[in-house]
Amino acid sequence: MKTDNQLMKLLTAKDKTALKELYRRYEMQVFNFLLRYTGHRGIAQELIQDTFTRLWFAGHTFDPKKGNFKAWLYTIALNLARNEMSKKEYTYQFLAPDEVHNYRQVEDDPQTKGPDAVLEQKEIQTSVANALGQLQPHLREVIVMKNYQHLKFKEIARVTMTPESTIKARYHKAISELKKLLHAMEVTTHA
């Protein structure tokens, strides 16, 4: 199995199979990052296409010495998302998966969970999304990259081009705000 850097070399030589392989590896991560950051499935769907199209055209600018491929890919996705959110009349408005045709939720099977549990899950999910949506974008991007995408603080600092100490300060602030928001929405964990 080829590494990301090897695939990037092939992609720079305009090998389409390399792009397909990279897409298969990162489609879920990039899509869910965009979805949670923008709060719009439609926008996330458009942006994932733009991200991988840009990857194809700007592949030659990737330098493995400056950082890993994953962080570089997130940089592209984040810049596109920021650009999109700044140029349109945009509101963070999350819709549960069954409200949008054709979208499939991972681990969302009524046969194994039961319809009530699935419904409750969707309500909690919408509440979490609403809480995230109330955060300022620069706080939300840190939470999404850390808690969902599991990037290290150093990687987030590189992706956002912000000092690591600032990223951590933003994380503290975001956690403090989320705690209040989730408490107000009565989102409880099953821990």
């Binding site: 879920m28 979805l35 989102v187 964990t189 821990a191």
Partner: protein, 169 residues
């Protein structure tokens, strides 16, 4: 009133996300045995993380890859040809600027040497040293400096007003 913990909370983040060295981990864990504030903060991190994970992953539309491949051209694009005119533009600008300065200098030189005072200045050591063209160049430089200094308050005020316009927009 409980005593406020003075430990850097960033260390708690590093501990929670396993981005801490073994030595520091031991130190902070020892501290946490006595500090309820830090234990509470770590609990908050855990609870918030668990709440956030109620929002499960979703998949993009199944035909997304086909849409991406459709945006990519079939043929490999040719490398961009070098635009000679564009590449040479900075050099042309420099040459034109030098020529313009030379033309102005020649013109000034002709004008200056017409004055009768020039005859008396011929014996001055400065003119002997640099020649009449050198003196013209120095005069040209002084004239340029004078004009720049004369207009600088206007330019500074203009820049400042733009800056404040931007700040208070």
């Amino acid at each position: 009133m409980p005593k406020m913990c003075n430990i850097n909370k960033n260390l708690l983040l590093d501990l929670y996300f396993h981005e801490i060295s073994g030595k520091e981990e031991q130190k902070i864990r020892k501290h946490m045995e006595q500090c309820s504030e830090c234990r509470e903060y770590l609990m908050t991190l855990e609870q918030t993380n668990q709440s956030l994970h109620q929002w499960q992953d979703q998949s993009p539309l199944p035909h997304t890859l086909e849409l991406i491949m459709g945006k990519i051209p079939e043929a490999t694009p040719k490398p961009a040809s070098v635009n000679l005119a564009r590449a040479a533009a900075p050099f042309i600008k420099i040459v034109v600027s030098i020529l313009a300065v030379l033309v102005v200098l020649v013109f000034l030189h002709q004008q200056i040497t017409r004055f009768s005072i020039w005859e008396t200045l011929q014996d001055w050591w400065f003119v002997k040293l640099f020649g009449s063209f050198g003196v013209t160049a120095v005069l040209f430089f002084l004239l340029g400096t004078f004009i720049t200094l004369a207009f600088s308050p206007v330019l500074i005020l203009e820049t400042q007003s733009r800056k404040y316009k931007y700040y208070f927009r």
